[in-house]
Point group: C2
Chain length 225, copies 2
DNA sequence: AGCAAGAAACAGGCATGATTGTTTTTTCCG
DNA sequence: CGGAAAAAACAATCATGCCTGTTTCTTGCT
């Protein structure tokens, strides 16, 4: 799916008709179908990879004709874009759930985020992120979402660890380290570059390091600034 | 390039004619052309991504007609396979250079490997590794190379750090951690998931942790076993 | 309320463009 | 001259965007 001819001022083929507060039968069905197509797209990207995901495949996966799909989405690029946005929100929701689940210590937060990062959504997102490297249209969509995720991730995390407030630089480092190790592991396991048996020990190592960086636990290392 | 119709018993269109020790002019030119095509393939994968790399593109990049190229390689899959093997050897050579450059301490080794991992060869390799996730033909070629690299990597590294011999488990962990962090960083920088300003601090963090794991520097943590 | 006009959802088909493997033709060197 | 290297031509496949036709739902008018 090239995602090439994404017209700039493309308005959706179907207007949501949020006006009149009238939630008609059709508007409901339309939103439902759109959601079905988006989910099918994500499934296809996970199964076949972004490069091998075609519009007929998505339509088949969604249980729709290709013509019907393109009635809702104008073209293939719009489908991809919608899937990216959905994946971004999925990622945010997943992290939010991990936070709300009540995990005040770094150990459980690491475990939880590790579980989240192994979900299909992460696979799909990384497929798209790598494709965006050589696809300017994808990159234009993805880049703002990447920074948005970073910001929200840090904003959420800082609430969990008020002890770190005295050392924002160190905190950001700790967050980056966690993301790097966890995502790096996920990708290495995915691509067969790392044995699965190494996962648990690695999680332990990461936790050790994070704890060692925590100013509340090691005040000596972080003199008052 | 689908790499789909890779016939099992496919013999090369041009036999390398290593026999007879007769290095004819043509055999030389043939090998030279093959090498040019392989390098062009790697360049294309870096520039356009594996998914968007087509046989006409490779031929153009190599300064050849497509017909001439397929005279040397039978089909597109053979080109990809040759490029993968070349990339594997490149990776091994790069790491070997880092070792031979004489870097007895972990700090310089980390710095050196970080530099190696930012080369185009790594980008191309990761493109192929991710594509292999959903491409069985690619996976069949790549998987053995992945384990081969892991083994050689560890075998080389252990020579550099004889102090670790007392703790092979910890050593393997340290190696895995280094690879995970460095490759994770490389990918995150590549995909815009991480700011480049975080690289140096992260390298420092990794070095800290590796040193803390070193039994020679922290004998207390590793009682004689 | 009832009916007709309009719009939306859906399905299928068509023409274009691109890529691939194969085959045929030309060029060049021993 | 003969064979390998290089180039060009060829046919088949496939994904895409667009267009047409059919069914279902909404809306408005009498």
């Amino acid at each position: 799916m090239p995602l090439a001819a994404m017209k700039p001022g493309a308005k959706p083929a179907v207007r949501p008709r949020a006006e009149t507060a009238g939630v008609t039968h059709q508007s409901l069905k339309s939103a439902q179908t759109r959601a079905r197509v988006i989910e099918a797209t994500i499934r296809c990207i996970v199964k076949y990879g972004y490069a091998n995901t075609t519009t007929p495949q998505i339509a088949a996966e969604a249980g729709l004709s290709r013509g019907a799909m393109l009635h809702h989405f104008e073209n293939g690029a719009a489908v991809t874009k919608a899937a990216i946005v959905e994946l971004h929100e999925k990622r945010l929701r997943a992290f939010r759930r991990a936070v709300d689940a009540g995990a005040p210590d770094s150990t459980t937060l690491i475990q939880t985020y590790w579980r989240q990062i192994q979900r299909p959504a992460f696979v799909a997102f990384h497929e798209l992120a790598l494709a965006a490297r050589t696809n300017p249209d994808l990159a234009r969509i993805l880049q703002p979402l990447q920074v948005d995720f970073r910001e929200r991730f840090n904003a959420q995390a800082v609430l969990l660890f008020p002890q770190w407030q005295s050392d924002p630089v160190g905190f950001k480092l700790a967050m980056t380290l966690s993301q790097t190790v966890l995502e790096g592991m996920a990708i290495n396991v995915l691509t067969g570059a790392m044995e699965e048996t190494m996962v648990e020990p690695m999680l332990g190592l990461l936790d050790e390091k994070i704890r060692a960086m925590n100013p509340a636990l090691n005040p000596a290392l972080h003199p008052a600034q």
